[in-house]
Symmetry: C3
Subunit: 266 residues, 3 copies
């Protein structure tokens, strides 16, 4: 077995598109806990955009710094189940990440470089075509927690799918329970004077929800550092017509030739 | 450190409007468990009416007697994130409650009086404007479980927001997975002869679902003691046109001058 | 106390129609964990078809072989809360199952026969009419984990509701987060040459999603061995007009006189 540094805490955080209802996450949790009773499963996110590992990659990279290190991150969002993409084990930033080689972990690796990336060679005796989360990744997580390093092969992180993706994704990457729309843009790279335009809407910056009137749209630096589009006391997705993949443009006030900055009008 | 009576069990029950999907509850759970491995997080309710701490206050107060004492209740429903409302720590009824001073805990305090109420003075080094659940309340819960009492200041429970709210709220305060509508009325204060009217509908009492015909509406004493409006084998929200905040009136049969008591007709 | 064979692990898997939002599952979890701290609750499925224990019985039986033995399965899907149906404790296949006698566990028992079936005589002091999951089954699960066998009476498994149900149910029994439709048919009993017809659609077999073009419908053996209807990169429920209870017919290619096998056209 290879050194795992640092030693793992037993926390396994799942980042998936499996949904909150069932029956997928529960099977994974049951199998890991049956094998490793000290394991603590935490459902970090279960409604990642279905089949969209690219968008999710930017969200996962943004969330990681707010998660406890020494955790396993089990990240499965899959457009190609049953295809022959590789399974990866990545050591970076104090985490062990497990998931398919489809770009989902690519931005996390870049953010926390250096990373050690391993192509997993181990395969279970029983591997369904449609549920690698249960058949492949859950036993891998359990084995790693139990101190067993799976058969694997080192690879360069620049060989991962997504290694060539841009640092930011100028589109809506996630819509949360409140209808707020997260983008793949880093808020720290924007001036508070920046204007975000989506379709016919232009949104100015506000520090908090309560600093704009109810019903007004704005952008702000969300709790994981991304540019998020929101409406005070309203749903930005509905009022601004936002969907996953909606294109987001940035400009400074000087570049703008129209008004309506902090309002949700067309 | 101040005495916490009784000693806490390690259970942290969350009552929030964060949704079941992510990525908010998972971050809170991960942080608490990383700091206090014996902590056991339980998601009691994650779809409290968004930004409506008043309605949720009545539901939380009704649920508490059915929860295990010696638990921490982490209650976050927030219309004013980023505003300057205080954070509270309340000891009452064998529970420690943590949450914002926006009324959410006011009815619980009144029900279980006496209560010790503390305004929390401690603040974390990194406090986002939009996610106090993670940045403020999660570390507080972890610290308390670890035996560290946060810097705080005693206050009277009559100084809490909501201290002047009525004992009952005659409206729909929650709609559950089945479409049943909970109200802020105590069933024990009503006679089985009482009639509940909402809009054009009048509902008589029934002890159980199976005691009325399929498709019929009725009210009953729900599992936490509230008046709940339901339709046997149907969705009361859809069939009776109920929404959060729908006004509910009570009358006795003698006061009524129209019929259709146990039916879902307009 | 009777012998429980094998000894239980502490895992309690819930299979319910309680929803992911609250406040039902959380109350059950809190009560069990407060009584038995080593208990580990896992939410296996919370959106079983409401009031449809028959459909859920086929799904539960299919899932069991993929779950860790030595677990308690707490299965509550209830069309008749408040009626006088019995509560059962079933020992079979290395599991202890708890739930109402409404057929929900009937197919599991048949699949894993022999089974020991017990009618539970114990009743709690406080039993609400609408939440037996919390008031009856949660304390039963906690007691069993604590080594206390509840007062009960042996009965024949052929006396259970559902004992006469067929081995397969030719209809849609569950629609998952992706819009895939599980049926009550065993995939192993069908040849890959079989055609599934639902309404005007005819679906041929495919091993994996990626083996048919995007937008095409097909059937496949899902991760728990059932025939599942799906559309690559699409939602089968929407595109094929599938709902719970939609009838499913099987035929071999020779019997078919029309085409459009792997396509989602009408």
């Amino acid at each position: 077995m290879q050194d795992v540094f640092p030693p793992l805490s037993g926390l396994v955080l799942t980042f998936t598109d499996f949904g909150a209802q069932g029956p997928y996450l529960g099977q994974i949790e049951a199998l890991i806990r049956a094998r490793v009773p000290r394991a603590q499963l935490v459902d970090l996110l279960n409604n990642a955009p279905v089949c969209a590992p690219r968008q999710s990659a930017y969200l996962l990279a943004a969330l990681l710094p707010y998660l406890p290190t020494r955790s396993i991150i089990l990240a499965v969002v899959d457009p190609g189940v049953g295809s022959d993409r590789a399974a990866l084990l990545v050591e970076t930033g104090g985490f062990v990440l497990l998931g398919p080689d489809n770009g989902l972990m690519a931005l996390a690796v870049r953010r926390f470089a250096p990373a050690r990336v391993h192509r997993i060679l181990w395969r279970p005796e029983r591997l369904s075509t449609s549920f690698h989360g249960r058949d492949l990744f859950a036993p891998l997580a359990a084995a790693i927690l139990a101190g067993e390093w799976p058969a694997s092969q080192a690879m360069g992180w620049d060989e991962m799918v997504g290694a060539d993706w841009p640092d930011e994704l100028p589109e809506v990457i996630y819509i949360d329970h409140y209808g707020n729309a997260m983008t793949g843009l880093w808020a720290t790279r924007l001036s508070p004077a920046a204007i975000i335009t989506i379709g016919n809407f232009s949104l100015a910056y506000a520090e908090t929800f309560s600093s704009v009137p109810p019903g007004s749209g704005f952008w702000y630096a969300n709790s994981c550092g991304l540019v998020e589009l929101a409406v005070n006391s309203g749903r930005a997705d509905v009022q601004l017509g936002l969907r996953l993949g909606t294109e987001v443009r940035t400009a400074s006030i000087g570049e703008m030739n129209c008004g309506s900055f902090s309002s949700a009008e067309a």
